[in-house]
Symmetry: C2
Subunit: 129 residues, 2 copies
């Protein structure tokens, strides 16, 4: 059995939900189950390979559930497991923080664009300056 040693909790968290694609996938799945093709369309630039690879890893970590419908053409739905949903709040906050940060930079003159602003919980920013 391989032994894993971490110095701080966040190290483990990032191993599970870190990387280029996992946070994005999870932020989409937190709204409900999605088919493979839906995820592909929702996440421009992701390749089929990276999508399935990351989903498999999330499955292995009991974050994502894979449901296969036995039909032709194939239909597969991905969703957060009950355990994966314990990440919902964090995922939401990561999204919102990033959105507000983009606003802040834009106000600061940076040329930065956010295409899909899905989380707009309220009008009070966590940080205003």
């Amino acid at each position: 059995m391989k032994q894993a040693i971490y110095n701080i909790g966040v190290e483990n968290t990032m191993k599970i939900i870190g990387g280029k694609w996992k946070p994005i996938i999870l932020c989409h799945l937190k709204h409900g189950a999605m088919r493979t093709g839906e995820l592909r369309r929702a996440i421009p630039n992701i390749t089929q390979k990276m999508l399935t690879q990351q989903l498999r890893e999330l499955e292995d970590d009991d974050i994502v559930n894979r449901k296969v419908y036995n039909q032709i053409p194939p239909k597969v739905e991905y969703s957060l497991t009950a355990y994966g949903q314990s990440l919902n709040k964090i995922l939401e906050e990561l999204c919102v923080w990033g959105e507000n940060d983009i606003d802040r930079r834009k106000a600061n003159g940076e040329n930065i664009i956010l295409l899909n602003r899905e989380d707009v919980p309220n009008d009070s920013l966590p940080y205003a300056d």
Copy 2:
């Protein structure tokens, strides 16, 4: 001027606080200012190069403040900026989630060790099964 395009907020967040070392550095700094050497000791395995490199990037993004004391031998203190502190809650949650996840896996028979459990807010786990 270079244009940045994001599809979803979390993409931006991860660009700023993602990677192998940044979340760890930030989780340490959220307790207060630390000297370079303190950070190095607090984060085993990080190299001087990675530490300063990541700190410079966090500085560029207005997350971390660098204070140089003009003395010999040199003394430099790093701390979260006021803006960087808007990440405090998220950082805390990332730490705690990782800690609880390690407990969960350990209970599940995995050989996994957490050396520094710094965030123990209460006895109610976000997810118990």
